[in-house]
């Protein structure tokens, strides 16, 4: 019998959501900032603040859906401080929890057990990181959750809806996360575990076509958009700034890639170790379902799939850190919990124990092997991170530009933190704008201000304005005067302005 949805369950989830909001505020107040979140927000701000609001201004070097979800927040007053990505993260995590709650109704558990499970899910560092860091990992988790639910439905129901769901989830996944291609490829061999044997025996090709065609269309669509707007079908995987390249061009920055890049089995083995520490609950679920073919198949896929993804993504020098994928297991476990029956007290207690152990292991692993941003996040969580805004070059110039509003040329690819600090892109002439393209054709651009970073830095060398006007930073330009010079940023203003 399915219990009527209890108000208490909703209360628990609302409380958990408020807790996540509180943690996010705490993190931000301690100076934590996620680069990815700032970059996404700056991209949205830049595109929407432009004189021509165009889709192509969002560029095609990263999946677009995480940008689209930010768009409504651009128009909400008070969010120009760059808090929107964090708000979206928390809201998305809440949506995931409510989706899980809805699906959990199929399993007959008490409110107490429900609340306990919810808390244990949320306190796992992978979930909490995704929910409070402002990244789009939580969107990937929602998609991953739906992916597993679809896979479970194929196993049990194998109705047409479950196949459509799986296929459409993959379609959306491509527009959410650059690693979707690896998640997709890794699932292909596992489809034989998911799909009914009869269909596999009769026509395996049809199965793959049904599951894979929308994803193939998504990739083709993206390539076509790249061709239309950037002139190259493969622009999104050949451009050095592309998020679809992962860590390929920056191997030296990522220990994981330095150690395992280009290999398949070794990172899989290493990731298995990571998983055993951070998600021993996956092993428990597998062992617990040995006697139930349906549940066992689902648990088996949940266990193996992320490991294969890690193997493939690392072999292609994409994956910067195993937690980019391992974090998705939290969503997989959530889906798994909607599928298993926790009838006996013994079963439930064991599950709780393994969830607690998973959380503890996860925190230990985060502390030991987290990337610099994860480390900062943990420090901020402990209240130990205190960034000095006055020493932050991008923040300083961004705030200065905010108070000195003039039409300003700025090469935005590496200056996203400047844009985010400024709060909007009004009067900024960014690289995709017609004005920018027109001005860089002139020997002396007719613009009120030009902002350039120090060409002696890596970023400064990549800055297109420095490339076009190589002496600008050092010597200025005829008709312009230096109005800002601080921490490697200079702003020149036309004399008559």
């Amino acid at each position: 019998m399915i219990r009527p949805h209890s108000v208490a369950n909703t209360f628990v989830l609302v409380s958990v959501t408020l807790l996540m909001v509180g943690i996010t505020i705490w993190l931000l107040s301690n100076g934590f900032q996620f680069e990815g979140a700032t970059q996404r927000w700056a991209t949205v701000v830049g595109a929407l603040g432009s004189s021509d609001v165009l889709l192509e201004n969002l560029n095609f070097l990263q999946p677009h859906l995480p940008l689209y979800v930010l768009i409504p927040f651009y128009y909400i007053p008070g969010l120009d401080t760059g808090a929107a990505p964090y708000l979206v993260s928390v809201l998305s995590a809440a949506i995931l929890l409510f989706m899980w709650d809805r699906d959990l109704r199929e399993v007959d558990i008490s409110t107490f057990r429900h609340a306990l499970l919810a808390i244990l899910i949320v306190i796992h560092p992978a979930f909490l990181w995704a929910a409070t860091s402002g990244g789009y990992l939580v969107l990937s988790m929602i998609t991953f959750y739906m992916l597993y639910r679809s896979a479970q439905h194929i196993i049990t129901e194998h109705d047409i809806h479950s196949y459509i769901s799986l296929a459409v989830v993959f379609l959306f996944f491509f527009f959410i996360d650059g690693s979707a291609i690896f998640i997709f490829v890794a699932l292909l061999p596992l489809l034989v575990v998911i799909a009914p044997l009869r269909t596999i025996m009769v026509s395996p090709a049809s199965l793959y076509l049904i599951v894979g065609t929308p994803f193939a269309f998504a990739v083709a669509t993206w390539g076509y958009m790249n061709w239309i707007f950037e002139g190259d079908f493969l622009y999104f995987i050949t451009n050095a700034d592309s998020a679809f390249m992962g860590g390929m061009l920056h191997i030296q920055e990522y220990p994981w890639l330095q150690q395992y890049g280009g290999q398949f089995f070794m990172p899989m083995i290493a990731a298995t170790g990571y998983m055993l520490i951070a998600y021993p609950v996956s092993i428990y679920l597998l062992l617990d379902t040995m006697n139930n073919s349906y549940r066992f198949r689902a648990s088996f896929v949940l266990l193996l799939h992320p490991l294969i993804v890690i193997g493939i993504a690392t072999s292609q020098y994409y994956l910067k850190h195993p937690f980019e994928i391992l974090g998705l297991i939290s969503a997989g476990v959530m889906a798994e919990l909607t599928f298993i029956k926790m009838q006996t007290k013994r079963e439930f207690v064991l599950l709780v124990v393994f969830l607690i152990v998973s959380s503890a292991g996860g925190w230990w692993l985060f502390a030991q092997s987290g990337n610099p941003q994860m480390q900062q996040w943990m420090q901020a969580l402990q209240g130990d991170l205190h960034l000095n805004a006055e020493e932050d070059a991008d923040l300083a110039v961004g705030l200065w530009l905010k108070h000195n509003r003039q039409p300003t040329m700025l090469y935005d690819r590496d200056a996203f933190r400047v844009i985010a600090a400024r709060g909007d892109a009004k009067d900024l002439q960014l690289s995709f704008s017609r004005d920018f393209k027109m001005h860089v054709r002139e020997r002396i651009p007719n613009v009120a201000q030009i902002a350039v970073p120090d060409p002696g830095t890596i970023r400064g060398r990549r800055d297109r304005l420095n490339i076009r006007y190589p002496h600008l930073y050092e010597h200025g330009m005829k008709g312009f005067r230096l109005v800002y010079d601080h921490l490697g940023w200079r702003v020149y203003r036309q004399n008559h302005v």
Partner: protein, 686 residues
């Protein structure tokens, strides 16, 4: 033979007196008249209005009856003892009358059965073709009643009206009594005598009704007028304004046009996605289960009329006859009408040569315009006796339990359900590219779209066959519109407007997919022309339509019916522009596609078309036609054919609106079969 002999006379009189139907004085008067004028006493009592025919035979049935029908047939050597035993056993199963079972099995001819029935009731058996009725006695306004209930006033003898009947039941006698409105006696004839004679005498009446009944009674729903004057005026004003606006603001107006088209196609795509999802619900495939069919008691089944309109289809006749014989439905409760055009000697002769059982009746439709299937069906409705009715085409192979499923579906559906549409699919799936495309399209249409339309309360354009009607509602609606070349689509919308429900069920009829492009174009152009007719008819009063269909129904109609037409007509224009842009990289179109229009157009081009292709794949997957799935990638070429047919249909709508582009059947090299399951499409004929 009527009653003779003094003892019987006394007994009749005594019986009537003892029942209180006549008084002793009346009996004496009757006897006195008999002595004066001669003739049977019963005849005199009836003609003197002393008692009604119904009461008379109610009191005297046993008096007249001689033996039992089965025994009489055995006695006459027309039926073996074994057959009689079998018939009695079947009677227990089916709950039909013994005579109907024997006729349905073809063990005795209808003529011989008529003779036996006459003997049984001790009445004369009359061959109406030899002893023709007095046509002055026929009430023309009641020809439909005669043909439906199989009786007709024959002659007046001794002042008493004699009515020719095929069967004798209290219900029929009551109906005859109400219809003729005077005392009568009956004689027995065979059913084909009545059918043929009524067609001969009342052919023009039935034709007139078949062609004009809807146009006369409900002209607003008749497609006999293609464009109403208001529609023409609207079209004129709209076009004039468009030209003016285009001349003054060429670029903005073309941008608005592009935007409108893009949005329409976007919403059309959205609707199809919703339909694809909703229609994929598992419960639609289990609406009527095999267990429910097995649990059905045959004795409770109603009489089912099967309409089989055919034209120059002699070759397919044996197949459909066999398919109908093998239906899992009591044969005695089948009322099958082979509806043939009078000049189609080829098919008529083929039907005669087949020596079909008594459940098959040939209805010859007199020549008249428009020569359309709906007119033929309307004509045949006058002769139909079923409580439920369905239509099959000559090349159809319905699943054997379809009629039973329809009965169950009606029982499970709301009371206002007027029609249940079965699924259509094809047995020659893998014959060539066209049949593959056609199969996927039909699978998508009937397995996904129509169930979803039903669930969302959007008017369902009925398919050409396998739609199962409640006969009384069908008649109430005036049947099909003979001027509409997709009368089925029109009727579906009309029924919804009238507050009836159109449902769907999970039983499939397998048909022959068109395997020739010219033939396909002919068929599809007719369908699209019919959709245009239906759209024009129902949009004569759009506000009224909105009120009748509601928000979802109205917009669903716009996008599902209108969207099909618009998509077909726009596809080549958009493809052409795209190819031109792709090949020449021209910037001519740039001003007309500002960014927001471009994005929607790109979405339609890439995502919408991609997902529509995917829906085709899903249709093959759901039907387990796995081999079709890769072929779905070629569906854009099929859309081009669709557009070709669309323009042909549009041309015909203007120049020859009521012309019925005949689809040629029997072109396939595959066996006609309903056994197209579990990924085993039909096989070529050996």
């Amino acid at each position: 033979m009527t009653q003779t002999g003094g003892a019987a006379k006394l007994r009749i009189g005594e019986l009537l007196v003892s029942r209180g139907l006549i008084s002793n004085e009346q009996l004496e008067q009757a006897l006195a008249r008999q002595q004066r004028e001669g003739g049977p006493l019963g005849h005199i009592i009836l003609s003197s209005h002393m008692v009604g025919t119904l009461d008379f035979y109610d009191a005297l049935t046993d008096h007249f009856r001689r033996g039992r029908i089965g025994d009489l047939l055995v006695e006459k050597g027309m039926l073996s003892e074994e057959k009689l035993t079998e018939a009695i056993y079947i009677q227990g199963e089916w709950g039909s009358r013994l005579g109907d079972i024997i006729l349905a099995k073809g063990w005795v001819s209808p003529y011989a059965m008529g003779q036996t029935l006459a003997d049984h009731f001790d009445k004369p058996h009359v061959d109406l073709m030899q002893n023709r009725p007095d046509i002055r006695l026929l009430d023309r306004s009641k020809l439909s009643v005669y043909s439906e209930k199989l009786f007709m006033p024959w002659r007046r003898e001794g002042g008493l009206l004699k009515v020719a009947v095929v069967d004798v039941t209290p219900e029929l006698l009551k109906l005859v009594d109400e219809t003729v409105g005077e005392p009568f006696d009956f004689i027995v004839t065979s059913k084909f005598d009545i059918i043929w004679l009524l067609q001969e005498i009342g052919g023009s009446y039935y034709s007139e009704k078949a062609v004009h009944e809807l146009a006369n009674a409900l002209p607003q729903y008749s497609a006999s007028e293609v464009f109403t004057s208001k529609q023409l005026l609207f079209l004129f004003v709209w076009m004039t304004l468009s030209v003016i606006v285009l001349a003054i603001w060429p670029i903005p107006s073309l941008v608005i046009l592009n935007l409108s088209i893009s949005l329409f196609l976007f919403l059309n795509f959205g609707l199809r996605m919703v339909l694809g999802w909703v229609g994929g619900e598992k419960h639609f495939d289990q609406f009527v289960t095999d267990e429910e069919v097995l649990a059905l008691d045959d004795r409770d089944l109603p009489v089912y009329t099967v309409l089989l309109p055919m034209f120059h289809e002699a070759a397919t006749l044996p197949n459909i006859a066999q398919a109908l014989r093998t239906l899992d439905y009591p044969l005695s409760k089948l009322d099958i009408k082979l509806i043939l055009e009078q000049e189609d000697d080829e098919t008529i002769n083929a039907a005669k040569e087949l020596g079909l059982e008594g459940i098959f009746e040939i209805i010859r439709v007199p020549e008249s315009l428009p020569q359309t299937k709906p007119k033929a069906c309307n004509y045949a409705l006058h002769f139909s006796r079923g409580e439920l009715a369905t239509i099959y085409d000559g090349e159809d192979a319905p699943e054997p339990d379809q009629l039973k499923k329809a009965v169950i579906a009606f029982r499970k559906s709301p009371a206002n359900t007027a029609v249940i549409q079965g699924r259509l699919n094809y047995f020659n799936v893998a014959e060539n590219w066209l049949t593959r495309m056609f199969t996927m399209e039909y699978s998508l249409w009937f397995d996904f779209y129509l169930p979803a339309l039903d669930a969302l309360h959007i008017p369902i354009p009925l398919g050409g066959t396998s739609n199962h009607f409640k006969m009384d509602i069908l008649r109430e609606m005036g049947g099909w519109d003979p001027y509409n070349v997709t009368e089925d689509c029109d009727l579906g919308v009309r029924l919804t407007q009238a507050g009836h429900r159109v449902g769907v069920m999970n039983s499939t009829t397998f048909e022959e997919a068109n395997n020739s492009i010219p033939n396909w174009i002919r068929q599809r152009s007719r369908w699209l022309k019919g959709y245009m007719q239906s759209y024009l008819v129902h949009m004569r009063t759009p506000i009224k339509l909105y009120g009748e269909l509601g928000h979802v129904g109205f917009w669903g109609f716009q996008f599902f019916i209108g969207g099909t037409i618009v998509s077909a007509l726009l596809t080549p224009v958009l493809f052409l522009m795209y190819i031109l842009w792709l090949v020449t990289s021209t910037m001519v179109f740039d001003p007309y596609f500002p960014s927001f229009v471009l994005y929607i157009t790109l979405f339609n081009l890439l995502v919408a078309n991609g997902m529509l292709v995917y829906l085709f794949m899903l249709s093959g997957f759901k039907r387990r036609y796995f081999g079709l799935i890769p072929w779905a990638l070629t569906v854009p070429f099929y859309w081009v054919l669709q557009s070709w047919a669309g323009y042909k249909g549009l041309w015909q709508l203007i120049h020859n609106p009521f012309y019925w582009e005949k689809t040629h059947h029997g072109l396939t090299t595959f066996e006609v079969t309903h056994d197209v399951t579990a990924g085993q499409p039909g096989k070529p004929k050996v």
